[in-house]
Amino acid sequence: MTSPWVKRLLLFPATAWMIVMLALPLLVVVVFSFGERGPAGGYVPAFTFDQYLNLPARLAAFRNTLVLAPVGTLLCLLAAYPLAYFLAVKVDPRWRTLLLVLIIVPFWTSILIRTYAWIFILGGQGIPRLLEFVGIEGVRLINTRFAVLTGIVYGYLPLMIFPIYVSLEKLDKRLLEAAADLGSSPAWAFRNITLPLSIPGIATGCMLVFILLMGEFLIPALLGGGKVFFVGNALVDLFLQSRNWAYGSAVAATLVIVMLVTVGLYMKLMRRAGAQRDDVSLF
């Protein structure tokens, strides 16, 4: 069909992009992570493992991230699935486009401003004030893990809705009709047909949200009041406050490795789940 050099030419932009914007910066991070901090900050070339040996000093940040990122992803999934299901299956197709656009609308405003707005919703004059009217006093929402998780679900929800929506929309409705004809209850059909067939969407959505959450720093900084500390916050402080580029690079490189391992495990798990499902469907 196409000659090899045309193929190469067509691949060139993508390859160049990956090399310049991904491979080279990662290489710089790895090289820096073996260096030292300059006396006034920055980076001084060296070859030492000191930065990696010092990693336990950021253990709390890694622990926080590795707990709150999966919990945030799960909450996003729980909130997004019914909505995606409603949009893909239940809603009148005439309204579908409008409703989908409405989900994207918040993206027109910067996430910074939208998260800042939550400071006031969760702050003392916001929801806690409303709760006082019904007699529940002394509720503290802002600057807690709860506030951070709320911000996460709010900010990342669309990223979870869309992949699930796409997988549900493709779902062949005749399968559900066949199941009903053969006497299955709607709950059984959902459990055994709809849910398994939407797993690719769930997997994609979870992956998207989880990976972005691992690098999150804005939401914990604003809604956690600086008291909920993610690896992202540790990195911001290392580069912008203490200007310890070498140690910052070591933390960043470790974060990439932790992420690759977690995502790798996750994909393996998903594939195994998929294989089991195929076995069942052979029946």
Binding site: A40, G124, L240, R243
Partner: protein, 387 residues
């Protein structure tokens, strides 16, 4: 001129007109008209050609923009508009949260800034790293070294060369809402940390900034604000970790929480204290009797400034006493320039937030260069935040 304004205005009337203009209640034309400033400028301009807007400016010689890196709530927007009107250069403002962040940005290169606002203790570091240029004072005729108090201007001179000219000075104390203190007057840093663990639990904010948060924790024990002694830092860390569960937040953006009543007390800089107190009188500004920080901010020009001429023009404009006086009225930080102070209303010059009593002032320390760059203090703050 119409006969209406034959009598010269009193100072009070002038200030009222100025405030009306600043609030946007009257137009610039009205303001210049009633105060006679418009006429005065025109007459002066005709008599002294050097004072008239220079042609090169009008022709846009300095370019169409100038980039300023500065601190939050630190300028009068009307002044920037006036600068744009007279020079054609738009002022693009980048707001920063800490000196470290500014230093990091300049160290990384390509900041794109023409002017920035470093604090006293950073300037030797910038000079040592070769990040700022010696100022071409001929381009800043409004800078008159003689009219500045030396202790607020001498950090701008390194080895006899002027690298930075003074902007404002101020102190780091704390703001406390007296509605919640039960009539008890707080006066010390010891009380700040103690009350946070008791009646004020969950209501206190500290800066997300190692210099002040660690420095003021050191004051609890009577150590120097600038200490880098490992034993003293260990004491400060112990205190910070004990206090952390009782904190409302670790953030330098404390005005919103103080204003809506969620936070009752916060570490606070002079101007924020003044702004809070002006709007909510029950919030007062306290300087710990043990001491704490006094600081002075400067204007400096980075070495790779892309709109260098515009940068100098902006510094010169902002140092003009009339302009500088409007700045002070807007942000509430004192200046060390006697020419500007001569234009400020008396009640401002007697304000105890801006100009604290001498015995409180003399206990304060200027931050040191070593305090900013000390890696142990940076790590201490990281441990405090992630604990």
């Amino acid at each position: 001129m119409s006969s209406k304004h034959q009598k010269p205005m009193t100072r009070k009337q002038f200030m009222r007109e100025l405030r009306r203009y600043q609030k946007g209640s009257v137009t610039r034309r009205h303001f210049l008209g009633v105060t006679g400033l418009g006429m005065a400028t025109a007459v002066l301009g005709a008599a002294m050609p050097g004072l008239a807007p220079r042609k090169s400016w009008a022709a846009g010689d300095i370019g169409d923009r100038v980039v300023l890196a500065t601190w939050p709530n630190y300028h009068d927007a009307a002044n920037f508009e006036q600068f744009t009107e007279t020079t054609g250069a738009h002022v693009q403002v980048n707001v920063f949260g800490s000196n470290e962040e500014m230093l990091a940005k300049l160290q990384a290169g390509g900041s794109g800034w023409d002017v920035f606002v470093p604090t006293n203790y950073t300037i030797t570091t910038y000079v040592g790293e070769g990040l700022i240029e010696p100022l071409e004072l001929a381009k800043i005729p409004n800078y008159d070294a003689g009219s500045f108090e030396p202790r607020f201007s001498d950090a701008g001179t390194v080895d006899g060369t002027v690298y930075a000219v003074p902007k404002n000075w101020g102190t780091t104390g704390y703001a406390v809402n007296t509605e919640h203190t039960g009539g008890k007057a707080l006066t010390t840093w010891k009380e700040f940390w103690d009350i946070t663990r008791e009646e004020f639990s969950g209501r206190t904010m500290v800066h997300d900034y190692q210099l002040t948060t660690i420095g003021n924790a050191l004051k609890y024990f009577g150590y120097s604000f600038n200490s880098v002694d490992p034993q003293e830092l260990a004491d400060a860390e112990k205190l910070l970790l004990e206090v952390k569960p009782h904190l409302y937040a670790i953030s330098s953006d404390y005005q919103p929480s103080m204003r809506n009543g969620d936070a009752w007390m916060t570490m606070c800089w002079t101007g924020d204290g003044k702004q809070l107190n002006a709007d909510i009188p029950s919030i007062i500004y306290v300087l710990g009797t043990e001491g704490g920080e006094i600081w002075s901010d400067y204007y400096a020009v980075p070495k790779d400034a892309p709109h260098r001429d515009a940068g100098y023009a902006l510094i010169n404009f902002l140092l003009e006493p009339e302009v500088n006086a409007r700045e002070v009225l807007a942000h509430g930080y004192p200046v060390a320039d006697s020419r500007t102070n001569a234009l400020l209303p008396k009640e401002l010059l007697e304000d105890p937030i801006l100009y604290p009593a001498q015995e409180l002032l003399s206990a304060l320390e200027f931050g040191a260069a070593a305090t900013l760059t000390d890696p142990n203090r940076a790590e201490l703050l990281a441990r405090f935040k992630s604990a």
